[in-house]
Amino acid sequence: MNNQTQRLSLGSLLRRPEAGSFLGLVAVFIFFSIFGGSDFASLTGAASWLNVAASIGIVAIPIGLLMIAGQLDISIGSLIPAGSMTLAIVSGHYHAPILVGIAAALALGAVVGLLNGLIVVRTAVPSFIVTLGTLFAVAGLTLGLSVLLTGTTSVAIKPGPEAKWMLGQFIGGLYQVTILWWIAAALLFGFILHYSPYGNWIFAMGGDQVSARNAGIPTERMTILLFMSSGVSATFVGLSQAILYSSAQVSAGQSYIFNAIISVVVGGVLLSGGYGSVFGIVLGTLTFAIVNQGIYYTPFDANWASLIIGILLLLAVVLNNTFRKVALTHAPAKGKAKK
């Protein structure tokens, strides 16, 4: 039974969901190391894209899990500023303890996620439409309530030293502490998806919802929990930004929708569900952040960054499709199959 141990070979590595994103990351890194000069690869340069990657990465991972389960959540685009504003209004405007503000922001993410999940499960409307609705609804609520309660769309907050230390400090003066939170999220969700039995349920749900339910998986509860985790992660990113910048704005999150989805897809997650990995999502996020920030180190105009990202996305999808086909058609060589 030597087949039961994971065979480590070049072939088996190429058949993993993150194979394409790993090659993409290497290519992008080499490209910007050449054109970005020594600044790009320096500690400061690394900080610029790691910081960007961390805040996208924290939302991209739960979004990726949702996509593997066959769903999509774009309401994060307004949940991020909603999280910032909730914290700033509760703890900045009303001077409540910072923990109350953090709890309120996270609770908001959980409630909106619960609502997303419940609507998707009960109505069977595609989650893209449902979360498009909540995207606008939450954006409107955030704007309306902010103006109503504070009279402005930008609220300042003075986080105490503990809050700064937990969520808003720069390690070594360069690296945002959110990088550590991102690593923690990757470890947690990586364990859930790839090692816990729940991960199997998520893959099965994305593969075929009806069969998964018939196999006894509580698909509705899982769907709701996944939406709640993406909601909470979005408000978490929002509140940590409010603490980092000591202020919150009503509109500061729409770009996250596409950035997170690009990161997830570049990371090898199948848009229609059932395939992907947390490690791939992390690599995809890094790739996206390197392109997004690396352009500033090159002699090229920053306006070209979107072009590169667009091409990168298309290449990544094609590459991931190819690697997935390789994984699908893989059969052990004839000689090995004989006993």
Binding site: M1, Q4, S196, R213, G274, A327, L328, H330, P332
Partner: protein, 266 residues
């Protein structure tokens, strides 16, 4: 004598004003293969859905081992030991053999929140179960289901059902999408399941396949049971005629021949 494992008595099903099944009575005993024959649209799918708990009958009863049962859901039916395998077998093409085998019943190791999916054990059991059905080509539980051939996927799905203790195995057109050789393999697996004492309900419109494995046959025509007979009681031609809805296939063939003669004439 033992009561039949699964027995349907006067089952009717209508969707709103449309009657789909009329007065279907069937029974299947342990270690017996019941072939359900019928043309497209004869009500086979609806009957399968009733037996596997997707639909509830409008009237009539379902009994298992002599006791009346009412399936609330497919999950409920499978807890009663009814397993349904669909035409394309495994429905999770992008999952590994080991993972898809144990969907919803994952073996774990470790403790509390650190319980982990036991990949090695899952792969081992899945591969052994499939090899037990004679598919020795499968030896790596990490392979993706989508990379298997149609027959191998059927075998995997049947192995899964048998492993989880199914007493009634419903096979929905298992050979329809397969080549001759693969179909023969699946038929052999059906006979293996029968030998294990499982009651098999084999749905097909291929009369040859049905005659190869069946002990008992029922023909459905437009939602009603048109015939019910035992092995050896009817010939292949008679069954084919029956399935065509009483219209004689010979007449149809003659019609086609004359049509061809007119149109192919040089």
């Amino acid at each position: 004598m033992n009561p039949p494992l699964l027995k349907l008595t006067n089952v009717n099903k209508s969707f709103g004003p449309i009657d789909v099944l009329y007065d279907i009575s069937l029974e299947v005993k342990a270690g017996e293969v019941l072939c359900l024959l019928g043309d497209n649209g004869a009500g086979k799918s609806t009957l399968i859905r009733i037996m596997s708990g997707v639909h509830t009958p409008t009237s009539g009863t379902i009994e298992m081992n002599g006791k009346v049962v009412a399936f609330k859901s497919p999950r409920d039916a499978s807890e009663h030991g009814i397993a349904t395998v669909h035409q394309f077998g495994g429905t999770f093409p992008l999952m590994s053999i080991g993972r898809s085998f144990f969907v919803g019943a994952e073996p774990t190791k470790g403790w509390g929140p650190f319980k982990r999916f036991d990949r090695v054990r899952a792969n081992d059991i899945a591969v052994k179960a499939v090899q037990g059905l004679g598919i020795t080509r499968i030896d790596d539980g990490d392979r993706l289901v989508g990379g298997l051939s149609g027959g191998e996927r059927q075998a995997l799905a049947i192995a899964r059902a048998v492993h989880f203790g199914a007493s009634v195995l419903i096979l929905d057109e298992p050979t329809a999408a397969l080549g001759v050789k693969e179909a023969a393999h699946v038929l052999r697996i059906v006979l293996q399941a029968r030998r294990k004492g499982i009651a098999v309900i084999f749905i097909t419109h291929n009369v040859v396949h049905a005659l190869t494995v069946g002990d008992h046959f029922a023909v459905l025509i437009r939602g009603a049971k048109a015939a019910d007979f035992k092995k050896g009681e009817k010939s292949r031609e008679e069954i084919t005629d029956l399935m065509a809805g009483g219209e004689h296939m010979a007449e149809l063939e003659a019609e086609i021949e004359s049509y061809m003669a007119v149109h192919d004439a040089p």
